[in-house]
Point group: C2
């Protein structure tokens, strides 16, 4: 069963908004065994939407649209769909209740503009939107399903997960696609490819596809296969993953949608241990990653973000003379930061980082991208010197990933 | 002059990677006066790439591709383009120098797999890639320009900005598009729309288009117009912006790509003032936003991330009895956090936040999404109670934006 996604909005075509909806929809459809053939972004324009729908229905059975459902005049998707299907509008009392509710929780009356949000094409089934005023719409026309959802990501996500996917599963018998992701860190894409050439070549006879997906200091390997019997597919793929572990196991840190911060969190929770941080060049980013994880308060106590010399001295006991002699970006300073914050916050581990994120602040001896990262435990403190590149945000991310991976290895090494 | 963007990669269609490249390319093309008609994402598949190219060249003069240029076997864009244009490969010594350099800085020899990165279609001009091993390619065939770039964002960005855009400007006379963005915070999309209805209706006669782009607690209004004379276009749009300011000026915090953190940074820098933070539920996210801004070390000194009760007491002097009686999410605690960190770090202002980000930790009296935000200055400390929604990351972002906007208003109120 083939699907296409059409995202509608001038803001996409002038680059003002990154289309994150398509990736979310594609993920959920793939999980449900629906193959996404193409994603198309078009403007808020009647003819363009018509053309995109006409093309998509040649290739796909299911067509998912987002965007253009707001209450304002630039949003034309709903009226365009009425025209496309040759139908008029009907007032939907159920949808109006949702609109009323959205206004009630904000303590306001429904405006005229928003009352119209409950006018829907005569031939659609209404998809309940609990987070906004624009209902989703489900059309079943000439054996093709068309679904239109709002462009606001969290409104779309709830409609897709709670309304659309269950409806699809009810209406269709879906095939089985198995994807597995193996996450590596600390090895480049091409070196990795050379190490696993023979293994990679062996995948074809099991009808397994491999993709390399590099990101910030990491490479994700994705194995995909499709068929009828989920157990057999999973067994084949798992066997290949076991083989892969023999080849490059030391670089594998997780699977599927694991992140370093989630994995580190699990390890700490299992061991009933805690962590604290002292950040300089990352300015709170590592703490943010750690605390994005729900429940992180059970293993994360807090951080000192010491951006100035003054705070490094005052809060983390870094010696002023050492700071002046060695500079803030030095082994001595970062190790002192790590051991101080660990003692002060009374945690089992700590991470400290100090570096030059750029674009300014580099010197010939200490260029932009130079970062020191330290780990402290009750027995020891040690650090690593890294040389990243020129991009500020990328340097911050590379530092965070490298630091979290050092902590992961440290936790694993003790037991 | 019309352009289309084709992003190539199975990872896009299974939703594993969000396509951020298209938005970047579209922004740069629009700035150069090139209208992006459509964005299409297709799989790493010969026939699919052919179909996308054939369709795009019917509609557009310029076709931009990203992805599928890596050294591994799943990347087929280069060979597919050879076939599409009916040409073979040539070895490009200049491109090979770039490949050699990439390996040299990592202290390694060029592998066989990577040597092939310098084999390029006979009919393309090479676009220098200073950040990776896959060169960009520029094809000029039957009065259409085809540009192929790597999918790794920072490699693509440098090639686009440093090679492609200058080449386009040299080769074509481009029309003028004027976009202006007005950024509002603290007012919902539909209330805003009602307040500016008459103004909105007046735009058509100046041939100006308006779009509403809501995001985390903000609404961006985008005005667009096109023509020949840039000065006249800008004058028309600026006049409309002045009118808008009369209507909803109090909600406008910036223009174009301004962010709250950049604006707050500029205000502090101009006034030679400093800020510190005490974060609980945002776990370092606000500090991260502040320090993503290059040069933030001149006005930001540091933060205490006080996730546990213990650290709130020990580092920020919050009274244990108050914590137990009122809870960490209370006016008393957040105001104490703000005044303590400001004094301790000796800054002109401070922000403190404490709340329940969710998904757990809510109670009937203090539901998920409840957040207290405080601002402290030398003379005073005050706070605001906010009730956000159920999504952890969204609550963190809403808190950050609300807090930075409170600080912005505070700075502006004193002079």
């Amino acid at each position: 069963m083939k699907a296409e996604i059409i995202t509608i909005g001038d803001e996409l075509l002038i680059g003002q908004v990154v289309d994150t909806n398509s990736a979310f929809i594609a993920t959920k459809l793939n999980e449900a065994g629906i193959h996404v053939h193409q994603i198309t972004s078009v403007s808020d324009n009647r003819e363009h939407i018509f053309e995109a729908l006409n093309n998509a229905k040649q290739r796909a059975d299911l067509i998912f649209m987002t965007g253009g459902l707001g209450p304002t005049n630039d949003d034309i998707t709903k009226l365009t769909l009425c025209e496309y299907f040759g139908v008029g509008l009907r007032f939907d009392p159920e949808a109006y209740k949702d609109v009323e509710y959205m206004f009630k929780i904000r303590g306001r009356e429904v405006s005229e503009v928003n009352r119209k949000q409950a006018d829907l094409p005569e031939n659609c089934e209404t998809l309940h939107n609990k987070n906004g005023t624009a209902p989703g719409m489900w059309f079943d026309v000439n054996n093709k399903i068309y679904v239109s959802m709002p462009g606001v990501p969290y409104e779309m996500k709830a409609i897709l997960e709670e309304e659309v996917i269950p409806k699809l599963k009810k209406q269709f018998t879906l095939p089985t696609i198995v994807h597995r992701n193996i996450l590596t860190i600390g090895i480049g894409e091409s070196v990795l490819a050379e190490k696993i050439t023979d293994w990679e070549n062996s995948l074809a006879k099991d009808n397994i596809k491999l993709a390399y997906l590099p990101s910030i200091g990491m490479v994700r390997l994705r194995l995909s296969t499709r068929g009828d019997n989920k157990n057999i597919l999973e067994e084949k793929v798992n066997k290949k993953i076991e083989e892969l572990k023999q080849l490059v196991g030391e670089y594998i840190f997780g699977y599927e949608n694991d992140t370093l911060e989630v994995i580190v969190g699990k390890l700490l929770k299992e061991r009933n241990q805690t962590v604290s941080l002292a950040e300089s060049c990352t300015g709170g980013y590592i703490s943010h990653l750690v605390t994005v994880v729900p429940g992180s308060s059970s293993y994360y106590k807090g951080s000192v973000i010491a951006y100035s010399y003054e705070i490094k001295t005052m809060e983390l006991g870094v010696d002023k003379d050492v700071l002046n002699a060695r500079g803030a970006v030095s082994q001595e300073v970062v190790e002192k930061m790590a051991s101080s914050v660990r003692k002060k916050f009374d945690t089992d581990y700590s991470i400290a980082v100090s570096g030059i994120a750029g674009p300014d602040g580099g010197t010939p001896e200490k260029p932009v991208g130079l970062v020191w990262i330290a780990i402290a435990t009750q027995d020891k403190v040690y650090s690593k010197k890294c040389q990243f590149a020129n991009n500020r945000m990328r340097n911050i991310q590379m530092t965070a990933n490298t630091a979290l991976n050092m902590l992961r290895k440290e936790i694993l090494s003790t037991k």
